[in-house]
């Protein structure tokens, strides 16, 4: 059976989650590999959420927030913009491929953009193959 990546999406409520909903109301199809959870602001994304996801068997993590300047909480996404690259640097040093963690800005009107990003990310991770993290940690995610 071909490898189907499991991708966790962490989306801010006001822009990106609304954008993902718009993809739905517009019936714009994208691969079912992404599973989304919602935070009020991308600034709530604690780096440990990403680590937790990778340890729990995610092959990739997509974090989405409002475009710079559009944050519902005025500047939360600027914090995300600084935190996620730092986290990615640490993860890269630990051998996690760059494409596995991705930060994107998606507005409430960008349903198509959300679908395009999910499609692109699914393809990239499919090319990378399964994440070795949970296996190397000897954690079977299905066993919790």
């Amino acid at each position: 059976m071909s490898f189907e990546p499991r991708i966790l999406g962490i989306l801010c409520n006001w822009c990106s989650y609304a954008g993902a909903d718009l993809a739905g109301t517009s019936r714009i199809h994208y691969p079912p590999n992404i599973r989304v959870i919602r935070v009020m602001c991308s600034a709530r994304v604690d780096p440990t959420f990403v680590v937790k996801a990778l340890v729990s068997g995610a092959d990739g993590v997509l974090i989405c927030g409002c475009h710079p300047g559009d944050c519902h909480y005025s500047e939360g996404n600027y914090k995300t913009m600084r935190r996620i690259p730092l986290l990615k640097k640490v993860l890269t040093d630990l051998g996690v491929e760059d494409d596995r963690v991705r930060l994107e800005w998606i507005s409430a009107s960008e349903g198509q953009r959300f679908a395009d990003i999910v499609k692109d990310m699914t393809e990239r991770i499919r090319a990378l193959g399964p994440s070795r993290i949970s296996a190397e940690l000897d954690v079977d995610p299905r066993e919790k």
Binding site: H72, A108, K144
Partner: protein, 578 residues
Amino acid sequence: MESRECKIGVYICNCGTNIAKVVDCEAVREYISELPQVAIARTYKYMCSNPGQELIIQDIKEQGLDRVVVAACSPRMHERTFRAALQTAGLNPYMFEMANIREQCSWVHDDPQAATEKAKALTQAAVLRVAYHEALEQMMVDMCPNTLVIGAGIAGLTAALELADAGQKVYLLDKQDHLGGNLARVDLTAPYLDSARDLLTERITRVKTSDNIELLLNSRLQELKGYVGNFSATLVSVDSDDPEENKAQKIEVGNVIVCTGYKEFPAERVTHFGYGKLPNVITSFDFEKMLRAGRIECKDGEIPNYVAIIHCVGSRSPEYHGYCSRVCCMTALKYVHEIKSAIPSCYVSDLYIDMHAFGKGHEDFYRRTSEVKTMFLMFGKGDHPIIRSAGPKDDCQMLIEVNEQLSGEVIEIPADLVILMVGMEAREDATETARLVNISQDKDGWFIESHPKLDPVATTTDGIYIAGTCVAPKDIPDTVAQARAAAGRILAKIAKGKIAVDAIYAEINEDACSGCRICNELCPYSAIEFDDEKKRSHVLSVMCKACGACVAACPSGAIKGRHFTDQQMFAQIEGVLR
């Protein structure tokens, strides 16, 4: 993670066939009922319907459920509905979680097997998350009865009067030096040919003489702080950029209505009609000016024998705006009547793509217009009539070539005056306005409603309402209806006196706080205070808007984001990936 002792009811919605045609809801139910915390799992046709909600209420009462999960549409759609159902059943509304298996599953995937697996994962995540939910109490805060209305066009005037007539204080703000907005530029209105001036004059007089309305012309909003019921707005004059001489005025309001209107599509963007080059090609707004001045004439002062009206300039076009501007078709018919009554001998041609006569009385108006001998010519979408200057032998200024759709022939018609029906577009300052009041815009720049059908004048920011053509192109009756609806919503809130604010905010565990003060600077609302004596930070919960920036930043893990706790998020992450 250990299983929590709880009794969760899970309800999987078919949404008619919206979900059920792709997701095997029964398979989701079977899977989810295996989870130890799940006491009961059901599928139902429409969970949001009264019988659907009743099902939840009854199970809570009879089975003693302590938490509920509904797998259905987006929580942005019905989270409030189901929270209210929990409350009716006597359960704390926060003991609830939704799994979005419609917008983010059945509507975007076509493989039933993959979609069903995803729906299982999303529902499971909601079950694991809700197990960690805590009962939260909402805070009641005072509702300031004053309202700020931004924009004094027909929407703003209407909303302001509605509130003022009910005895409430209104601040009516406009960047211009006069009242009336875009409607003040219009002569007659379709389809009853009432004068726009008449519609406005009565309102403007009442607004100017009302004791409850404070007019703030030549002014703009500079800053809006606070939250529903308790906003503080800073207003400045538009004339001066010098902060010294431009003294800002601060006002306290409980709600804001944004009625900033539209601007007309700039006809010069469409080069093929020669606007700006051919002297007698004018826009609908140029023509309104002529009508208001009382004389229809060509550039040289001659009375036109032939007038051509071209529809959909800048609208319904992939190059400019994809949407229909809604008012132009009827406005064009109105011009036919106005031209015919001013110059009975004038030949009027109306060049349209489709005649959109959707409103009350519009189809009759269309029929009456065709009875006054108007030449209607239909051109194709994606095509456009070609205008050229006439030769010396012709008895007209211009000739227009139309690839006429109904006859299938290329027809050439004379014109002395061409009126371009320019559509509506979002104002240039719409982005700035959206940011100031914290609302969103769609891809065309229009403000986004809380829900386009069910909650059309509210926005995603509590206490901020939108009405009229800043939301999308619309005619006067729809604009007035929205303005009154927004005012009505606000009056209902003012009548209650107090308002419940969301129980979701950050909390600092003072025992765990190291007093490092990292969070103090992070908070965009200055909601975190440092206690110099205790050397600990604490959150002013009323000020907190629950973004969670401080929660993620606290190096001691001392800050808890209520309803978005680490435990809840971890459980959800595990559930979605399992």
